[in-house]
């Protein structure tokens, strides 16, 4: 009985254990099923996304930034692939081979920090970026990884960098890169690549979701060769005059197209100062005062005023000249750049007339050029003028303008009085390379009638031929121009002692202008007059561009307007000047002078351009033409050979004093 009861108890225990075990299994199965439901049904999407993330990689495909081209289609800025080289020391098997390959192909040694397998860092980036050609043979080296990235490249290095700007982190910064960023940038694409279990990309499994859209090409009005010539001329001028900075703007006055624009700051860096810094233009403003007088029939070029002994006291202020001019016509006032003369003439203008003409020439308002950071300059309303403002404005004080504004205003003088809108972008090229015109040349207004500019041009030609701008003179072509010198202000807004801006505005050829030049030099420390420092920049630029092949000028017209008889350089052109001292503009100075009488040499000089060291022409009679030319070239002279055989004469003649750069005629005979 007892045994049966024990047996029953044991079976009952076993059954309950089985039940418990089953319950456990069922609970476990339940949990698993619940988890399965959770993963497969409730969290299905999240897990699916996670799996996709592990096996697929969505990445951006960078769009190629559009090119910037010059007006002839030459590349000024392009985007291209460059490579960064990454060293993985832990993967390198043969350090010697890697080091030698880096030396050979990149010219840099294997960094010490990456030259052993126990290097601290897993990855080591080599400094700099390399072309795909340079890194091509490094690809097969174990432990050397190549990363490609799109980089902005300026094929001519520093050429037009101020105008072009830069690209920082893929975004345009300054210049055209910034102004046209939305057009140049394009739109990045997206692609999905499949990865294996180790995270490596599976080749051929990339799917493009949206292709990148390349940026459009921007064609500028800038001409590459002209830009290069301008930059060289300006750099030479800065070196020879010791100027801190300078600007040179060349435009086509008929269309307002900017053909070259260069600004260099004190550190020699290209900037856009021609657009975003202003200066008091000094005497370069005088043609506009004259235009106002002519337009309102308040003066004729033959009208005279008494410039007295070169100074005039008005409203408690003394305006001075470096000349003692006496009675001068308006023509002579401009030609000799008399402050007293132009100030006395300006009294005939009402403040409203003077203000309106200056404003209409574009002073005091932005030009609207498609470049960032443009400033408007300063031209105060007549209500804010003092009693002497009329006089100050007449010779370029109490007004501030950018070199670009000056260039466009001079352009109006060259273009029958029409002020043109500045153009820097000529066209946009779409994805197929088809050009699409970007705006059209547009006249903002006609500031003065054509007859005014027709009367003014011969005056400005005389400024260059026999006035204060003779260092811009060409013997075979007419140039119309005007020089200016004005005191420069320091950072405190006050005039700096001995600091001047020298400037020169000119158009060429004077008969039917195609090119407009404006030059500004900041604080030249040799001579500081615009006619002595800024005018030669224009001349050297013009001489160089005449011999360049791609410059947009009508050579047929040049051949027609070439002077039949070259105008000789004036001898002692400014002997009437008594002093070279520029008086304080606060008291009305700011005139032009070139050679002080006391420094004029006793011997006759061929050129008005005074050289630091006069050159004396040697006796070359009987020498072969080749020997004579070589000898004169070595002296820094230009030579025009006539005839052949042996030299029979040199003109101007043996023993004559000449200046470097003068042209000597070498006449040969059999």
């Amino acid at each position: 009985m007892k045994a049966r009861a024990r047996e029953r108890t044991r079976h009952g225990r076993i059954r309950s254990r089985r039940g418990l075990l089953l319950l456990g299994w069922l609970a476990l199965a339940g949990i698993m099923i619940a988890r399965l439901v959770e993963v497969q049904l409730l969290e299905r999407q999240a897990w699916a996304d996670d799996a996709l993330r592990q096996h697929r990689l969505t990445r951006e495909v960078p769009a190629t930034r559009g090119r910037i081209l010059d007006r002839n289609g030459s590349e000024l800025a392009v985007s291209h692939w460059q490579a960064r080289v990454v060293i993985a020391p832990h993967e390198i098997e043969d350090f010697e081979a890697v080091g030698s390959a880096l030396e050979t192909h990149l010219g840099i040694p294997l960094p010490a920090a990456a030259s052993s397998p126990g290097a601290e860092r897993r990855w080591h980036f080599l400094p700099g970026r390399f072309s795909t050609t340079e890194v091509a043979s490094l690809r097969r080296l174990r432990g050397v990884h190549i990363e490609r990235e799109l980089q902005r490249l300026y094929p001519h290095d520093a050429l037009a960098r101020g105008v072009l700007g830069a690209v920082v982190d893929g975004v345009g910064a300054g210049g055209i890169e910034q102004a046209m960023d939305s057009i140049l940038a394009g739109r990045n694409g997206r692609e999905v690549v499949a990865r294996d279990n180790e995270g490596h990309e599976i080749p051929g499994k990339a799917v493009t979701m949206s292709p990148p859209t390349a940026g459009l090409d921007v064609v500028l009005t800038i001409e590459q060769d002209l830009q290069a010539i301008s930059e060289k001329a300006l750099a030479d001028a800065l070196a020879s005059t010791g100027a801190r900075a300078g600007d040179l703007v060349i435009t086509d006055p008929r269309t307002g197209e900017i053909l070259a624009m260069t600004s260099v700051d004190g550190a020699g860096q290209a900037t856009l100062a021609a657009v975003h810094t202003t200066f008091e233009p000094g005497s370069t403003i005088k043609p506009f005062t004259t235009a106002a007088l002519l337009r309102h029939d308040l003066a004729l070029l033959t009208d005279t005023v008494d410039t007295q002994e070169g100074w005039w006291r008005v409203h408690g202020r003394t305006i001075t000249d470096v000349t003692a001019g006496g009675w001068m016509t308006l023509h002579e006032v401009i030609q000799e750049s008399s402050n007293v003369g132009i100030a006395r003439f300006a009294e005939r203008l009402s403040p409203g007339q003077q203000y309106t003409v200056l404003r209409d020439f574009g002073f005091g308002t932005e030009t609207g050029v498609l470049l960032p950071g443009e400033v408007a300059g300063t031209l105060r309303l007549p209500g804010e003028w003092s009693a002497t403002s009329v006089h100050s404005l007449a010779f370029g004080y109490e007004i501030a303008a950018t070199p670009l504004q000056m260039a466009l205003a001079y352009g109006a003088l060259a273009n029958g009085g029409f002020l043109m809108e500045p153009r820097i972008v000529r066209e946009i090229r779409d994805a197929r390379g088809e050009p699409e015109r970007y705006g059209r040349p547009r006249a903002i207004r006609q500031v003065v009638p054509g007859w005014v500019t027709e009367q003014l041009t011969p005056v400005l030609v005389d400024v260059v031929d026999r006035g204060t701008g003779t260092r811009a003179r060409l013997s075979s072509f007419s140039v119309a121009g005007k020089s200016g010198t004005a005191r420069a202000t320091g950072s405190d807004g006050h005039y700096e002692e001995g600091a001047y801006y020298a400037s020169f505005g000119a158009y060429f050829p004077a008969e039917d202008p195609e090119l407009l030049f404006f030059v500004r030099l900041d604080r030249p420390d040799s001579a500081y007059y615009g006619g002595e420092t800024a005018a030669p920049v224009m001349r050297s630029t013009l001489q160089s561009l005449l011999s360049a092949t791609r410059i947009p000028i009508d050579r047929g017209k040049l051949a027609r307007v070439r002077r039949d008889r070259p105008v000789p350089a004036p001898v002692q052109p400014l002997a009437r000047f008594a002093s070279t001292d520029l008086t304080d503009p606060e008291e009305g100075g700011g005139g032009e002078a070139t050679i002080p009488r006391s420094s004029l040499p006793a011997r006759p000089k061929m050129s008005a351009v005074a050289s630091a060291r006069p050159l004396v022409l040697p006796d070359l009679e009987g020498a072969t033409m080749r020997v004579a030319m070589r000898r004169l070239h070595k002296m820094g002279l230009r030579v025009r050979p006539e005839g052949g055989g042996r030299v029979v004469a040199i003109i101007p003649g043996e023993g004559m004093e000449v200046a470097a750069g003068d042209t000597i005629r070498v006449v040969g005979g059999r």
Binding site: D225, F477, R555
Partner: protein
Amino acid sequence: MTRKRIIARAILAVVAVLASLTVVAWRQSAARAVLAELDAVERELAELAETRAELERAVNAMEARPWVAAEAGRRLGMRPPTEDELVITSGDRR
């Protein structure tokens, strides 16, 4: 069906499955190798195109006036002619 026959069929089935899996794996790895090779060729082609563009750019830069004038001045002493040394012959306009 005898027990031996059942075992033989099972082995055959396992072998068939293994064989087909091997073939699939082989085909896939071969395809991947070909794709990798294709990728490499495409990359090489892109690099060569880029190299060509680089060389073209270098040629253009060396044909441009900034470089030519500087080099001619440095090596040959070339200077731009003055306006009275120029003979203007054509009326072409660019």
